[in-house]
Every structure is written in structure tokens, then in C-alpha cells.
């Protein structure tokens, strides 16, 4: 569905804007998780076909005419693993933020100026 694709792109742009302009470290990670959600929405919406059902065989869906009745299973499978990885990476980033706070005592990105140019 195209409208959901557009929604996913809007979420990506909002998240990127947040990551670029906000100064607080937690806000940047929140922007990252918004980008994550947007990407997942786009990938799942690319596999949708109008008027079809989920790829699970039961009494209503036989294996013979499945080709004309189910949506694409591959994007679902890819997103399934991507969500779990997203959680793990978010947790790792948060732990880094906690360590940075312990080292320097600040949560503002403009206080970290070792690599500033």
C-alpha cells in the first residue's frame, strides 16, 4: 500500500531530523528508534498485495491456489529478525550513553568535543 510507504518515509525523515538537531543523547537514540520503525514499515508494505491473506495454511487456504491468495512472506521474515536486532542495538547504545555520562558527567552532545572539527 503506497500510503504506508509514504508514512514510513515521513517517519524516517522525522527521525533523521531529530538525530541531527537535538542535543540530548537520549533524544538522538529516540530518533534512531523512530527511523527503525519507519524502515520496518516500508519493507513490510512493499510485500503487501491488495486483498490477499497472511501466508499461513489452514482449512481456508489450501496449498494449490496459494500463489494467488497470499502476500509475500519474505519481507515479513526479514523484518522479524530486524526488529530483534533493533532492540539489541538500542540497548547497546543506551549502555554507551550511561558509560559516557559516568565518564564525563554530561548528557549534552556539544560537551563531547574530542572529535569536533
Amino acid at each position: 500500500m503506497t500510503i504506508i510507504t509514504i508514512l514510513g518515509f515521513l517517519l524516517i525523515i522525522i527521525g533523521l531530523w531529530g538525530m541531527l538537531t537535538r542535543k540530548h543523547l537520549f533524544r538522538m537514540i529516540l530518533g534512531f528508534s523512530i527511523i527503525d520503525t519507519g524502515i520496518h514499515l516500508i519493507i513490510v508494505s512493499l510485500g503487501y498485495i491488495k486483498g490477499r491473506t497472511a501466508p499461513i495454511f489452514d482449512s481456508d487456504l489450501s496449498t494449490f491456489d496459494a500463489v494467488h491468495k497470499i502476500v509475500d512472506p519474505i519481507p515479513s521474515a526479514l523484518v522479524l529478525t530486524a526488529i530483534v536486532i533493533g532492540l539489541a542495538v538500542t540497548a547497546l547504545m543506551l549502555v554507551y550513553v550511561v558509560q559516557m555520562k559516568r565518564q564525563k558527567g554530561s548528557l549534552d552532545i556539544s560537551d563531547y568535543e574530542e572529535l569536533k572539527w
Binding site: M1, L10, I14, R27, I34, T37, V44, G47, I83, V97
Partner: protein, 84 residues
Amino acid sequence: MILTIIIVLGILMLVAAFLALYLKDLLSAIIAAGAISLMASVIYIILAAPDVAMTEAAIGSGLTTIVFLYALHLVKKEQGEKND
């Protein structure tokens, strides 16, 4: 009908994304970011992907929020009584 649901959910998601970036209170911002995932899981049901919907509802709005809250707790404990 389904198009209306999708449009309403989409507008709510965009509003929640802006709230997550611009609310003053960090706790409310984290809750808003969890709400985005919750609405996304409803959209996955509409897109006929129940597996993804289950995962997103459990991870995106459950565990991610909990991990954020634990990290916020740790950071605030470092800070002492000063508030932010």
C-alpha cells in the same frame, strides 16, 4: 473504512514522533516513542503480517520502553537530586 483507519493511525504516529522529539519531559517522550511502535503493530495486522505484528507489539512497545526506562534510571541516579 480501512483507509480511514490507516490515515488516522498515520497522523497519530507522526504526531507521536514529533512529541517524542520535542516534549520537555524525557519520560513522556519515551512513552510517546513506545506508542509509535504500538500503532505500527496495528498497521502490520492490516498489512496481513501477524508474525511481525506480534514481534513489534512485544519488543517495540514493551521491551524497548523498559530498556529506555532502566537507562534513564541509571543516568538519573548518577545525577543525584538535580532534575532533568
